[in-house]
Every structure is written in structure tokens, then in C-alpha cells.
Amino acid sequence: MKLLQPVSAPSRIGLGLAFFALFVALWSVATFGGFVQKLFLADPLTMLGEGYNLLVRYGFSFDIAMTIWRVVGGFILAVIVALPLGILMGAYKPIEAFFEPFVSFARYLPASAFIPLLILWAGIGEAQKLLVIFIGSVFQLILMIAVAVGSIRRDLVDAAYTLGAGDRSVVMRVLLPNAAPEIAEILRMVLGWAWTYVIVAELIGSSSGIGHMITDSQALLNTGQIIFGIIVIGLIGLISDFLFKAVNQRLFPWAAK
């Protein structure tokens, strides 16, 4: 092992899988070896069996679909608000000065703490779930997009002006394309955070979704189902992350290292 030396693609995949294997091995030793009571932690095989039950008998795929729709729906709403506002804040400093302090304050408000209030306002329907995701991601998005748009090299802007571009053109043809790869990366990250909010929203006052299944299983002391639910969330996160990365590389070939 040499400092900062990159690894080849096959060995990177191999190493990555190796840790998953080690993790499952430790889990197996702890459960099959009888070191942990079944009541508290199901073994890997029981977990897989419960997962099969969930999917085949209890219509768990509907819960998964509900959860995905809530995350994606709330996240898209947040993007619709955050994108134009973030771009304006990045481009025009007085607009940034107007919104930035409030948004900075608001982003530290924990989205999960809003859930009781949101239930009061929006009931326990879909609107409340979407709002939790929205509140959890919109402020983060606004600030990060504003920084991405504002961090343009001054000489690129100057070059555009000397080529006859007006303010509107500079925003559309210079600031936006310059920030686009970073904005895509920001969306990828914040979508990951949105996943943690949706489960919290579903733990309270919900009749469907992965989070709802997890609370139900807790009442039945079915740790196998709970772990299966958690693993499904992890897998979906991994897949969406992978898709985002692939799309970004394709959309912005000029930015690739």
C-alpha cells in the first residue's frame, strides 16, 4: 500500500465486496453462534426468509413504491423551488444577502421535528409526507446551488461580456453550464439525505411505506423484517446513486477528470 496510489477497477470492486462479505460473516457468527438472542437480532437466513414473505405474501413491493414516490415527489418539489432561487442568489448578490441568512437558519431546523406540526396542518396523508421531504431538502439545495452558481471564474464572465453577451445571456450561457455538473452532484447528495427523512415521516402516522412496515414489525418483534426493510432502503439508495453518477458522467463529458 502506497500513499495516495490509485487502485485498479477490478481490485476496487473486489475490496468493496470483501467488506460486505466480512460484515455478513460477523453477523452470522453473532447470530448462528448464539451470541445474540434471536428475539433481538434475526440471523441472515431468517432475514431473507422474512423478506421473501414480505414481498410475496404481504405486498411489500407496494410499500416500496409508495416510499419511492414520496421521496421523489417531495424532492422534485424542493428542486422546483430551490433551482431558480439558488441560481438567482448565486448570480445576484443583493438577492443572496436577502435570503441567505434566513435559509442558513432554516436549514438547521430538523425536518423530523416538523412532523407533529405538519400532521396538524396537513393531516397524515401524502401531503404531509411530501412536505417533510420538501422541508428537509429545499434549504440545503438552495444554499448549495447558490454557492455552485456563484463560484465562477471572473475572467470567464468578462470574456462573455466582451463577446457581446448581456446579463441574461451570461446567466444562461455561462453561469448555468459552468455550475451544472456541481448542481447535479448536489442533487445526488441531497436525494440521499431525503431518504432518511422519508423513513422518519413514515414511522409516525402512516399506513403504508417501508417506514410503516418497520414500525409494524417492531410491534411483532420481527427483527428479520426490520433488517430486510433497512437493507432495501440501502439498496435503493445505492442504485439511485449509481444511476445519478452514470447520468452525470454522460451529460458532462467536459467536466470529467
Binding site: D158, T162, L163, G164, A165, N178, A180, W254
Partner: protein, 259 residues
């Protein structure tokens, strides 16, 4: 009639933290004839770039006025092409799209834009590179593209701020020949800022020497060398004599600013 008139133009930068205001350029006057190639020569920090940026509309003069074709300059515009010392190609656009950036602002149709961009790519020796991104190009290729991008707009005057400053000596010499070749064919009005004496003489029909900060015009020397100028002209007696004289002028200024 003069293409460009710089009339008693000066620049001070405002005081910071209660300090004194910085005088970058004393009131300076300069007339540039149509199709002239003028190099502005001076030591680092003498205000020569500030003068050029004011002509480009990227800085506002503290006093005086700048007229292009009799019209006062206020802010940057497509009639004054600008080439920067730093690499300023848009990294998300290909060579052809970079060259055509200003044409799209003017509303030129796409087919025509592509034709002009391809034409310019050929003229700067980048045929076959039209669809490359800037990161795939060498520094010299990037600066050639930046020159083509400015000229494709067909500006009234071309302003260059030490465009070859970051290049190695050999590339720099080739770039000078290429730019001079373009000027000999197109006959544009050019204002070229540099701190390199040889570069200043080789391309110019007039060398304007700026003093150490605060800048003012110290000498205005015509270069009567014949055109076309091959690179071998740099070793002729006339060229060497001119170089000796300018080196002397600049040396005095560098010593003044170091003192």
C-alpha cells in the same frame, strides 16, 4: 482619422482600510490609427493592463474618456474583442462552439455559425479539432482558439492582454508569427499589451512604453520594419538596434519600481 482615441484617461483604485488611494495610471492620451498594430510595453504592475481593460470596458476610468470611432466607450461590447492572459475558453463548449459564442449572441443562424467557426479553426491551424473540448488542447491551442473567438465576432479593434505570457518560448514565437500573419491579411486594429521587448517590436507598427507605477506614457516609438516579417527579422541590425533602445527604456523603469 483615429480609430481609437484615449483622452486623458487615468485610473485610481479607492483606498482600503483607511490607506491611501492607489494611482494605477496617470492621465494618459493615445490615438490609434485604423489598422494599426500597437504594442504597449511596460514592467509588471505599471498599469498597462488596466489601460487595456478600460478600453475593453471591463474597468471604468477615474477620469478622461475613450472614444472608438467617435463613440464613447461605456462597458464591454462585441465591437472590442478581448483576449486574456489566463485561459478563458468556456470548458463546456467545443472549439467550434467557443469560436461561435459571440455569433450566437448576435443571432447568426446555426449553419452560418458553423461555417464561420470551421473557417476560423482552419485559419488558426486547428482543422480537425473543432469538436475537441478545451481541456483536450495545449495552452497554445487554447490561446489560438481564444483569438479566433474574438476575431470571429469581427470586432472593430482587437485587445490582447499578454495572451502568450503563460506559454513556453518556442510556442510563443510561433503564436506571434501566426497573429502577425492574421493581421497582415485581415488588417485589424490591434492593441497588444506585453512586458516582452522582442514580442513588442516583432509585431508592432508602434511600441508605446509605459513607465513604472503610477503609469504614464514614457516613449512612443514607430517600428518601420518591412512586412511581411519572417521570424529571421529578429536578428537583423535594425531589429537589434531597436531592441537595445527599448531594453534600456524598460530597464530604467524596472529599476525605478524596484528602488
Amino acid at each position: 482619422m483615429s480609430k481609437l482615441v484615449i483622452d486623458q484617461v487615468g485610473k485610481s483604485f479607492p483606498a482600503r482600510h483607511g490607506g491611501q488611494a492607489t494611482r494605477a495610471l496617470l492621465p494618459t492620451s493615445l490615438s490609434v490609427a485604423d489598422n494599426d498594430f500597437i504594442t504597449i510595453l511596460g514592467p509588471s504592475g505599471c498599469g498597462k493592463s488596466t489601460l487595456l481593460r478600460m478600453v475593453g470596458g471591463l474597468e471604468t476610468p477615474t477620469e478622461g474618456r475613450i472614444l472608438l470611432d467617435g463613440e464613447p466607450v461605456s462597458g464591454p461590447g462585441a465591437d472590442r474583442g478581448f483576449v486574456f492572459q489566463s485561459y478563458t475558453l468556456f470548458p463546456w463548449l467545443t472549439v467550434a462552439q467557443n469560436i461561435a459564442f459571440g455569433l450566437r449572441e448576435k443571432g447568426v443562424a446555426e449553419g452560418e455559425r458553423l461555417r464561420i467557426a470551421a473557417d476560423w479553426a482552419g485559419r488558426i491551424g486547428l482543422r480537425g479539432f473543432e469538436n475537441h473540448y478545451p481541456k483536450q488542447l495545449s495552452g497554445g491551442m487554447q490561446q489560438r482558439t481564444a483569438i479566433a473567438r474574438a476575431l470571429a465576432n469581427d470586432p472593430k479593434i482587437l485587445l490582447l492582454d499578454e495572451p502568450f505570457g503563460a506559454l513556453d518560448n518556442q510556442t510563443r514565437a510561433l503564436m506571434q508569427e501566426m497573429l502577425l500573419g492574421i493581421w497582415e491579411r485581415e488588417r485589424k486594429t490591434v492593441l497588444f499589451v506585453t512586458h516582452d521587448v522582442e514580442e513588442a517590436i516583432f509585431m508592432a507598427s508602434r511600441v508605446v512604453v509605459i513607465s513604472a507605477r503610477p503609469g504614464r506614457i514614457k516613449a512612443d516609438i514607430p517600428v518601420d520594419l518591412p512586412h511581411p516579417r519572417p521570424y529571421t527579422i529578429k536578428t537583423t541590425p535594425d531589429f537589434v538596434a531597436l531592441k537595445e533602445r527599448l531594453v534600456e527604456e524598460i530597464r530604467a523603469e524596472v529599476m525605478a519600481s524596484a528602488a
